[in-house]
Structure formats: structure tokens, C-alpha cells
Symmetry: C2
Subunit: 344 residues, 2 copies
DNA sequence: CTGTTAGCGCCTTCAG
DNA sequence: CTGAAGGCGCTAACAG
């Protein structure tokens, strides 16, 4: 039933034209709704096409038109719930706009990202959705800028580059977290900061400093712990924090992953949350309410980020191309018990 | 800096040939290592290619060779941690084998899946990695069988179709769960069964029945609750279970998602786990240890599933194509406290 | 309104 | 060992 590979299956446009009794170009026009066509001709072509089960070759068409209707999507790690969510959102939006997604994982490093971009560009993607692992500006310009492929950044951006960007309200979110903890009476608040190679890492750290200052709270140098976005690293940083001479009484985790590491560490050393250490986190994981203790966090829907980024890209791909835009996705505080609030 | 779209950027093979002072066909041979070439010619071509930064057009090449080096990946829902994990595994394996992945989300329904497959086939993907939402056999044959595009199923399969399959050890895993609970003295064990449209749903349900029978435990009809793979549905099924005249004393959740729903329900009604209801789950989520109570479950790495499926596909794509194979990914029991085991 | 012509960029016979 | 020629399937420009 299955013939050998490498043979064409199904009819070509020429076949359709022949059956319909018209020229290939006319058939093409009829199928693509281009130009003025007599109703009969159009009908005949459509009939022939469906009769033969005609499926145009995307490859040939793209070669000719120089447009592939596919978008390259690059993230540091697809398996992460956040990026998987953005992918889902972007995929949906792009699909309804008639685009396909080609996915590449940069494995969280620059080389991987460069390789991913090169591959995608070779495939002549029409546009790029990119959460950068931090490639140098020059390389970006050289690779995608020169070609003019529209690119929208999300989550982790290259300041000022590309055709737009979508990031979370990192500043607001972090401030809300700090203020909430301060509202519980805490003054010695620490931060588990994520990777400073990424926008969300740097913005949240800066916002934390600003929020503390805004509240007139002293911030000790060793209360800011920078580490990778890994549960494991947050665990050891938390231990370090609690081993301090004057340990913090509360901590803000820059991501759900880091909050989990914090919880794990507290459990290991028998510290109680929120009594011994209050905790509030950026990112509200979907199982946040079922953790022990239930996690207080600022939440948002990752797919909104992907959807918004896809929207900007589609607009940038339009004719005329939309102007560059920078979007912020809002976040909202969800009070649970890790911060010291009472159970409902 | 960015020129207008629709123009070629970078050199073509012809350009390289000209600079190297040879014919295009020779340049092609040199770059692809085909045929016997004099060392000098080869060197000249390579030099010219790198000098011009030559990047072959994947489109043109594919049109000519009828091979795209891209694999279509179709899942019901990319945002789910499980599928995101399989994607990651598959992507890595395929990339090292020289393939790209084109992703489509079937949105958990048949129409979406058909559309996804059609799109992918139009793109002339070389192979397919598919976790089916349950398209009819006839449609599958008609669409991919006829074309002869190699297809490996994973997680959710079409029995006997395609060029191989990879699923979890659903039977073993479920039996282990039941036996463990029985070992704690439970006799009235219920099952939160997932969708019966999918392989993991049906296999785990059947395995549950078999395991209960094997232990000589009675199984009440209303102790088997079939629902979608959603936390919300598991929550209401759990309530229904505990509202029974003779409620179960233990429950097996067919997935982590269902286990979370169970925990949520118990919390709502003040039932204690494991005292009032013991719980053990298929799927060990990465935050399993931090839940309240810590979850006993059978675990595995989702990326292993994707990696294995990709491996089978690459083999099937080889020359000669490998024979059809069916793989099972092993799972292992992780004892924590939701089943009644003591904390370590 | 429709047909003819000419490639998109590459690879692969077929000659020499 | 190398060059010339043709075509993958489609669409755009140019005629009629």
C-alpha cells in the first residue's frame, strides 16, 4: 500500500489544469483567487482539484514566492512549563494567521541559539519568535538583521533589537511581592535572584532593590543570591541564607522553580514556612495551592505571552508592517499561606 | 540595514561556482562530497563557499531531492509537562540525526489532528512522530499510509499501525501501585481512570482490573471513575467516590493531574491523606515531594519517551529501513507519604 | 479573461 | 574528473 519513498504522490497543478482543460497558470489563479476569472473556469478548476485531491507543494510555492508561511520559535528549554506554555499560545495564534511553527531549543546557551537561528534562516522562515539565551548584538545583526527577517523577542530580550518585544510586568510583580511581605511586618527580606543573563533575572533583581529602597528597608548584600533557574541551586542558596548570622525572615523567589528549592531546603533543615521564613514567589505554578505550604505568588498565563508575541510578529509581517512595539503582560498577586496569610 | 523582504540574501551555489572558477554542478559535488573530485577543486570550492558565507537553500534542495530533513511532531497538547518533555527528548535526538522538527498541536481532537497531519504532509516531512488523539484507522491509512511517510506512534497509539511505537509500562506501573496500596492493608481500592480514547487510559484501566483480580480483591463498579485528564474532573470524581455508601480507603490516580484533583478534593472536604484516603499515582511530577502530602507515585522521564520514539523513526528512515518495533519505557515506584508510608 | 514564457536554487543524469 | 542540460512544482510577468 505504501509505495517507495521519493516519489510524488497526488496530483500536481499541471494535472489539475489538464483535467480542467485550462493552462497551469489559470489553474493557479483560480486556486489562489488571484486575478479576474470567469465563474465557469474557476468552477472547473476547483472541481478538478478536489477530484484529484490536489495538494499544492509548499516547497515549490515557497521557492517561487520567497515566503514560507513558517515562523521559527526559539527558546532556551521547551520542557520548562513556562516556555511550553508560551509555545502553545504562539502556536495557536500563528496557526489562525496561517503560519506554521518550526521549533528549536537553544539548550540555554549561545552556541545553541546561533545554530538554531542559522537553521531557521536557512529554512527561510518568514519570521522569528525568540527568547534569547543572550547572543551578542553584533551576531544578531549579522545573522537576522542583515537578512531582514522580522523578529519579536519575548521573555528574554535584546534591548532595542528586533521588531517588538513581550515581557512580564517584572517590576510591578516584584514590588507587589516585597510590599506584601513587608505588610506582614518583615524587614529583613532576601531575594533568590535568577540568572542575570536573562531579562526576567535582571529586571526582577533591580525591581527588588528599588522596592526595598522605596519602603526604606535596609538591604544586605548577602541577602541577594544570584543563581541559575534551578531548584537545586535555590536549595543551596536558601541554606546559605539561613546559615547567615542575621538570616532573613522572609524571602522573595524570582521564579516558581526557585521557590520549590527554597521549600525543599526549609524542609531539610526543619525550618517552618512561614513562621521561620516567609516565602513569596514570582510565577504561580498550577499546583501552587497544593504545595506544603500553599504558595503565595504573582501569577499570569504563560500562553498570553506567546500569544501576544505572535500577534506582534504577525502585525510586523503585515503590509504595511506595524511599528515596533513593546508589551508588558500584567501579573496578579495570589495570597496563600507561605507568606504568613491565614488560610481562607 | 535590513533590505526589503523577498530578496535573496547571501550567495547561491552559482555564485560560489563562479568565484571558485568551476561549474555549478562541480561546486555542488564538492560541497556534498559526492563523486570523485580533485583535491584542488574541492579546496577551491570550499574556500569560495566560506568566503561568500554560502548557505544552501533548503527549499530548493528539498524540491529537487524530495527530502526535507524535517519531522512532523503532533501531540494533543504541547503545554502539558508530559508532552513538552517528550518534545524535548525527540528534538534533541532528531537534531543530532540531522533533522528539524515541525510542531503541531491537535488540541486533543480528531479534526485538529487531521489538519495537523495534512499540513505536515503538504510540507513533505520525511517522517512523523505522533501521539494520536484517536483518528480512525481508515483516515490514517488514507492520509499517511498511502504516501508512505514513516510514522512512529508514542504514548497514544493506533494499534498495529505505523512503523513502530513507544509507550510506558502501563501494566507494570499500575500493578505496582495497586500492590503497594494493598500492602498497606487496603482492600477497597478505587481508580481515577483517564480518558479511554487514549492508550494510557485504556491500558491503565485494564491493568488495574487485572491487578485487583490478581490480588483477589473485590472491585466495585462505582469505584472505577473514568474522566478526562483534568484536575478539575478528578476533583469532582473524588468527591463522588467519598460520598459513596462504602467509599474506598485508597485510590490509584492514573496520572499526576488526576492525583492533584484528588488532593484538592480531600482538602476541600477535610479528608486526610493517607489516613482517610490513601493515594498513589501514575506519573511522578517533579514537585511530587513538595506536595502536601508528598506523593507516592511511579515515575519515569518523559523525554525518554520522545527520545526513544525519535530513535525508532530515524531507524525507520534509514537505508535499509528498520523493522517495526514496539518499545516500552520502564517506570519505577517512588515511595513517599500519600500512600501511608512513613516519612524517611 | 487566459495562455506562454521564464525562472526560484539546487541536484543528477548524461556526455565528454 | 568535469561541464552542460534539464527539471522538481509553482507563480509572476508579459502578451494576446
Amino acid at each position: 500500500m505504501s509505495e517507495r519513498r521519493g516519489t510524488r504522490h497526488g496530483a500536481t497543478l499541471a494535472d489539475v489544469a489538464e483535467v480542467a482543460g485550462v493552462s497551469p497558470s489559470t489553474a493557479s489563479r483560480a486556486l489562489n483567487g488571484r486575478g479576474e476569472l470567469s465563474a465557469e473556469t474557476r468552477a472547473a478548476v476547483h472541481e478538478a482539484a478536489t477530484a484529484l485531491g490536489f495538494q499544492p507543494s509548499v516547497l515549490a510555492r515557497s521557492l517561487r514566492t520567497r515566503r514560507t508561511q513558517t515562523i521559527g520559535f526559539v527558546v532556551p528549554d521547551v520542557a520548562s512549563p513556562f516556555y511550553a506554555g508560551t509555545l502553545k499560545g504562539a502556536q495557536g495564534a500563528l496557526e489562525t494567521a496561517g503560519y506554521r511553527v518550526m521549533l528549536m531549543d537553544s539548550s540555554q546557551h549561545v552556541d545553541g541559539e546561533l545554530a538554531a537561528l542559522q537553521t531557521l534562516l536557512n529554512h527561510q522562515v518568514d519570521g522569528l519568535l525568540l527568547s534569547t539565551a543572550g547572543i551578542p548584538f553584533a551576531q544578531f545583526d549579522d545573522l537576522v538583521g542583515r537578512r531582514g527577517t522580522p523578529c519579536v523577542f519575548f521573555d528574554s530580550v535584546l534591548e532595542g533589537k528586533g521588531d517588538g518585544s513581550v515581557v512580564l510586568e517584572n517590576v510591578d510583580g516584584t514590588r507587589v511581592l516585597v510590599e506584601h511581605l513587608a505588610g506582614h511586618g518583615h524587614r529583613r527580606i532576601a531575594l533568590l535572584a535568577g540568572s542575570q543573563e536573562e531579562t526576567s533575572g535582571t529586571e526582577r533583581l533591580a525591581a527588588f532593590r528599588a522596592a526595598m529602597k522605596g519602603l526604606g528597608l535596609p538591604l544586605r548584600r548577602d541577602h541577594v543570591r544570584v543563581c541559575a533557574w534551578k531548584q537545586e541551586e535555590a536549595r543551596s542558596e536558601t541554606h546559605a541564607l539561613l546559615d547567615l548570622e542575621r538570616p532573613p525572615t522572609a524571602v522573595v523567589a524570582s521564579s516558581a522553580e526557585l521557590a520549590l528549592g527554597c521549600i525543599a531546603a526549609c524542609r531539610e533543615r526543619g525550618s517552618r514556612i512561614p513562621d521561620d521564613l516567609a516565602l513569596a514567589s514570582f510565577d504561580d505554578p498550577y499546583f501552587g495551592a497544593l504545595l506544603d505550604p500553599p504558595l503565595t505568588a504573582v501569577g499570569y498565563d504563560p500562553s498570553d505571552v506567546g500569544r501576544a508575541a505572535a500577534g506582534l510578529l504577525v502585525d510586523a509581517l503585515g503590509d504595511p508592517p506595524a511599528a515596533r512595539r513593546e508589551l508588558r503582560i500584567p501579573v496578579t498577586l495570589v495570597r496563600r499561606q507561605s507568606c504568613g496569610c491565614e488560610a481562607a
